[in-house]
Assembly symmetry: C2
Homo-oligomer: 85 residues x 2
């Protein structure tokens, strides 16, 4: 068993309301950043886990996303990277 760092992006599903992103975009406009068209706000998780190899670490994290980390109704997730720790 080796140690891996798996990073995950969890973002609101496209087409659904993203009120946090809208609030950030409005605040940026107020600060003078008028070139900003849109903002999406999601979560960035880094999970340190032991696994036999990188593929097993990624599979375990996909399972974690399905069971706890992501809301399957409103969010999409993607594995952004797997690196040996």
């Amino acid at each position: 068993m080796k140690s891996f760092h798996v990073s995950v992006h969890i973002v609101p599903r496209k087409g659904l309301l993203d009120p946090q992103g809208k609030a950030v975009a409005d605040a940026l406009h107020t600060l003078g950043f008028h070139a900003v068209a849109d903002v999406h706000v999601g979560r960035h998780l880094i999970i340190e886990t032991a696994a036999a190899d990188a593929a097993a670490a990624e599979a375990a994290v996909r399972d974690m996303c399905g069971r706890l980390l992501a809301n399957p109704v409103t969010e999409d997730f993607e594995i952004a990277g797997v690196s040996a720790a």
Copy 2:
């Protein structure tokens, strides 16, 4: 002016407490994922902005992070990628 998507990771500074990550790690252990050693939870932002080129888009987003998006006392940010929209 072209449109760019700039993605940013904002994470708790290393060495500072990350109570949200601790809570997620505990919940994963409860679900049976005992191989998980640690979890860090940050934010993943995607900013759609108009700029002359990719370097200008990245510079604008760095300025946004410093002035609004990241807490300079407790968080670090990194530009994860810039792509033409």
